[in-house]
Symmetry: C2
Amino acid sequence: MEVITANSNPRIKELNKLNKDAKLRKDRDVFVVEGIRMFRELPLQNVQEVYLSESALKEYRDEFKSMGVLDGRNTWILSDGVFAGVSQTKTPQGCMAVVKCMHYQLDSVLGRNDRETFLVLDTLQDPGNMGTIFRSAEAAGVTAVLIGKGSCDPYNPKVVRSTMGAIFRVPFVMCDDLPGTVEELRRSGVVVYGAHLDGDDLYDIGFPDRVAFLIGNEGNGLTDEVACRADRLLRIPMEGKVESLNAAISATLLSYEVMRQRKRDRQN
Amino acid sequence: MEVITANSNPRIKELNKLNKDAKLRKDRDVFVVEGIRMFRELPLQNVQEVYLSESALKEYRDEFKSMGVLDGRNTWILSDGVFAGVSQTKTPQGCMAVVKCMHYQLDSVLGRNDRETFLVLDTLQDPGNMGTIFRSAEAAGVTAVLIGKGSCDPYNPKVVRSTMGAIFRVPFVMCDDLPGTVEELRRSGVVVYGAHLDGDDLYDIGFPDRVAFLIGNEGNGLTDEVACRADRLLRIPMEGKVESLNAAISATLLSYEVMRQRKRDRQN
């Protein structure tokens, strides 16, 4: 295979754009995945292009072959220098792929199980937080993440990296009309909880089988039109002078408390 | 007051260095605090220098005066451009202070209460994680954070910012010999828990009154010499294919479960 040695190569330019430009990702319906761990999680049928550094090719050749990556089609080798230029990390691992976006619909995730937990992200801005929410959500058995307009792009490279692969396993739905989506959850019998200082203490609540939690923006909390649609209000107890918790931390504490209660119920 | 309009001003150069250089912070025994929220949390007796942008001076003049900041001593005004250059944030709020470091000793935080929770950070690297741990620790009523050698500097500007002020309220001890510190915790009767896949399920454990949790490095977990000193092993339950949780998430789930059990015990 030929080795790409110039940053000016059109493929390299396009990769750089895909890493930076949410609109281009949307238009092409693809996103970029980087790193050997994420590589091992890739749904191969969705992979459109693979880029490997010369060093990574040496180190992982057998593994890539057994994954079916090195069959010659749509795989390009980059000099280490060119790879470092296009990499989003400080210590590049030398593998990158262009992958087709996932497209989940609310219908396909709602009402499929007796017990469901939804995380509803209302203008969540920080890519690291969103990625961590995916990772925790999978661990806590969350059914799906619902992402409202004005949130950061789940295909942002930093989100993808922070999910540690969970983005391939946790269904997520892009919601153009988040208030409408919350109404739909409620109509189907899901109890929707919003965070509020006047709410019930999280640890005094016995959660129903089907729940959704509204998670707001890092600085400004929930938007009014989403907050007003909560069925019930809850409060994560906080000591000291803390005014709020990190959004990913809140989402995790809520999901895990539901998980804990369900485990306890199964044991009793 | 004179306005600093040049990036080449020696004070501006020194501020830049303090933001970047952990060794200089240590030598001068100070760190840099930025942002209006953090400003409001400042222990004024520890403030050595204050830097305000011209815009911030206009916006917050009354507040700064009532805080005692604008008494003329050790306060400098920067043009907005110069402030933006030295700021660590994309949208600078125009206030920065050089503050004396805190110096807590283990003796002053250990054995002071019937119920204690310690978080022991073993080579924790990510500034955002460390800051979030401080913020959650305060909310969960953690007694103190013990920081081992090889962890990131708690006075790194990104840590300070992510604590949202908790760095001024949660005691933390710098531990040159973390294994020795863990031994000291145990000798004083604190039960030390380490995370391990073979450990007991977090939600099956009834925690004793005095506990410590070992929190490891983001990529590599605990170092052997710290891990081997745990009294007991525990496991945060995880569904799906998740191999581990984010370090700040783990620390929070552990601290909050202890908090939950103590609240429940008080209620019964």
